[in-house]
């Protein structure tokens, strides 16, 4: 299999089980899927269907209870063998960029400082060369010296996207990124994600309730009760 045909993510029989007293809840229940490199995939489903749990496991924010997960052909989890937090961090910083419903910007840092904050802890070689181009792509280059408090919600989410992309990840995981935004701003963010996927070849996985946003993806996976209902 050539490098370009190796899937970005491959999951087989993934399960994530939580215990609540004597009860066992399978938030992700025997999910097998493949996410191709450079694809745009949306994950939809009702509340409690396991969307966030699935994206957390795929994004190595959480260990699965069982199953196998491979990133770029490299097996990360196998047969429910959990990884240490340090291992998970190393995998995350190499492979993923994350954006969430909340923007989590540091209020006392400027836009530019927030964007380059990951470099304080980890910098991929050459990652810092395109920061201004990234700000321009996201339309926040003129706001570089502003503090987050001076930005609109849409602009703050763009800053969060820039921060997620500054270390040139292979995969962008977006968990309800428009949950705090109005319709117009949501569509803006959706367009940005689509553009990043088409122009930059970035693999995007989007978890959303918003079906209009989900429709921007090339592929939509619908979850119900922790299982894939439609793909």
């Amino acid at each position: 299999m050539s490098a370009s045909t190796v899937p970005a993510i491959e999951a087989q029989h993934l399960r994530r089980v939580y215990r609540r007293g004597p009860e066992e809840i399978a938030a992700v229940d025997d999910i097998s899927l493949t996410i191709d490199r450079g694809s745009f995939t949306s994950i939809v489903g009702p509340s409690g269907s396991g969307k966030t749990t699935l994206i957390n496991v795929l994004g190595c924010l959480d260990n699965p209870s069982s199953g196998t997960l491979s990133l770029g052909g490299r097996v990360v989890f196998e047969n429910g063998q959990g990884l240490s937090e340090a291992r998970l961090t190393r995998i995350r910083r190499d492979a993923f960029g994350y954006i969430f419903q909340k923007f989590f910007l540091v209020p006392t840092l400027t836009v530019l400082e927030n964007v380059v904050l990951p470099f304080t802890f980890f910098k991929k070689p050459g990652a810092d060369e395109d920061v201004f181009r990234l700000l321009k792509t996201l339309g926040i280059d003129r706001r570089a010296d502003h503090l987050p408090g001076q930005l609109s919600g849409g602009e703050m989410q763009r800053v969060a996207i820039a921060r997620a992309l500054v270390n040139k990840p292979d995969i962008l995981l977006a968990d309800e990124p428009t949950g705090n935004l109005d319709t117009a701003r949501s569509e803006e963010i959706g367009s940005i994600l689509q553009e990043l996927n088409v122009r930059e070849g970035l693999t995007v996985i989007l978890v959303t309730h918003n079906l209009r946003l989900a429709a921007l993806a090339q592929r939509t996976i619908e979850l119900r009760d922790g299982k894939i209902a439609a793909a």
């Binding site: 924010l61 340090a86 989590f104 304080t120």
Partner: protein, 398 residues
């Protein structure tokens, strides 16, 4: 592209809650202030006491029998309620083989109606013009010189006494009550000791003016090889006299001061513990408020050690900031502390009571940094252990 250093990130994190950070810094500053002032007082007091004692030039003093503390006060500062002893004692002490030299002294006090608003006491110390200067390591003159004759009607003023009386060399000075004039022949340099406030006259002149043939004290310089304790015991056999060795005086005074010092040390320790609790509370609150952000930092690639370092540096910035403010306050208020402490103590040496030097400032900064390091461990550990998944969940769990 310039990356943010971890110090910048830590510093800017503290700016978020400026008032809280400032109050924590002030808590540390208070502890540092107490610490510097206390150690400064400890050093300053001891140094000034040593200077006063060294400046006396003798290691033992004989006074007429009475209260030992009164004797100590008399010796160091002068006093009232004077008791006298026979002049012949000086000659018999001088004959002892352990003695290198003796100097007889006679202190007299009169009421001066022109002193202050409603008058005050004026003290004169009669000293032997020959033996007294020999006892002193130095007797520096600002103007003029020492007495010309053993019975001359002359006075030598200490620096402050001359300032107070507004006298210069060549002026005449009238001794109140006695209506006798003496000529000012010398003014001493400022020495920072009790000599500064003293008016010296030849002992024979004082005896003549006041009609007293006795002495109030005898200073004794003991030979280096002499056994001080044995000699002291020998002197006790002299009738109606009290022997005060300067090491004894120093020990007595330092014991009194140490008692107060232990109490103040306890207070300083409590202040430091309170400041530490304040720092732990502030940083822990800050960590808990930033759980999600810490989770994001971890998802960005920050390792547990990075988060630990970040929070630890925040703690250290708070402590060093407090330390710098506290030591600056201590330096700025050293004079005020000196005046206040002087008001509380039964006896204070004439030099500066609070001595703050670079070593003390560095030591205090070291202590507050250590406090910062210790206080930061728990919040930093707590932050470092946070898992991103537990902290950055979306508002709405799917």
């Amino acid at each position: 592209m310039k990356k943010l250093s971890i110090f910048e990130v830590a510093y800017k994190s503290l700016l978020r809650k400026k008032t809280r950070s400032l109050l924590t810094i002030l808590g540390i500053a208070m502890a540092a202030w107490v610490l510097v002032s206390l150690f400064g007082f400890n050093r300053g007091y001891e140094a000034s006491l040593n200077k006063d004692i060294d400046n006396l030039g003798f290691q033992m003093l004989i006074v007429a029998k009475g209260c030992p503390y009164e004797a100590a006060t008399l010796m160091l500062k002068g006093g009232t309620g004077l008791k006298y002893m026979n002049e012949s004692i000086a000659a018999s002490v001088a004959a002892e083989p352990e003695v290198e030299g003796v100097t007889p002294m006679l202190m007299q006090v009169v009421f001066d109606p022109n002193k202050g608003e409603s008058g005050g006491l004026a003290a004169y110390l009669g000293v032997d013009p020959v033996s007294f200067p020999k006892m002193k390591s130095a007797l520096p003159f600002k103007a003029g010189g020492w007495f010309t004759e053993p019975e001359a009607a002359e006075a030598v003023f200490g620096y402050e006494a001359a300032e107070l009386e507004q006298r210069e060399v060549g002026d005449l000075y009238l001794i109140p009550e006695k209506e006798i004039e003496v000529k000012v022949v010398g003014i001493l340099e400022r020495t920072g000791t009790q000599d500064d406030g003293t008016i010296f006259l030849p002992i024979r002149t004082v005896q003549k003016i006041f009609g007293i043939r006795e002495l109030t004290s005898i200073g004794i310089k003991v030979k280096h090889e002499a056994d001080m304790k044995a000699f002291e015991d020998k002197l006790y056999k002299l009738p109606d006299v009290q022997v005060v060795s300067l090491s004894q005086v120093k020990t007595t005074i330092m014991t009194l001061v140490s008692t107060a010092r232990v109490m103040v040390f306890s207070i300083a320790l409590i202040a430091i513990l309170i400041a530490m609790m304040g720092v732990i509370n502030t940083v822990l609150m800050s960590v808990m408020e930033r759980r999600q952000e810490i989770g994001i930092l971890k998802s960005m690639g920050a390792m547990a050690g990075d988060i630990f370092r970040l929070v630890w540096i925040e703690t250290i910035i708070l402590c060093i900031g407090g330390g710098l403010i506290g030591t600056s306050l201590a330096l700025l208020t050293a004079r005020l502390t000196d005046v206040l402490v002087r008001g509380f103590l039964p006896y204070s040496p004439s030099g500066g009571l609070v001595a703050i030097d670079a070593g003390l400032v560095l030591m205090t900064l070291g202590v507050v940094t250590a406090i910062g390091l210790a206080s930061g461990i728990y919040p930093s550990w707590k932050a470092a252990r946070m898992r991103p998944l537990d902290t950055i969940r979306s508002e709405e769990e799917s």
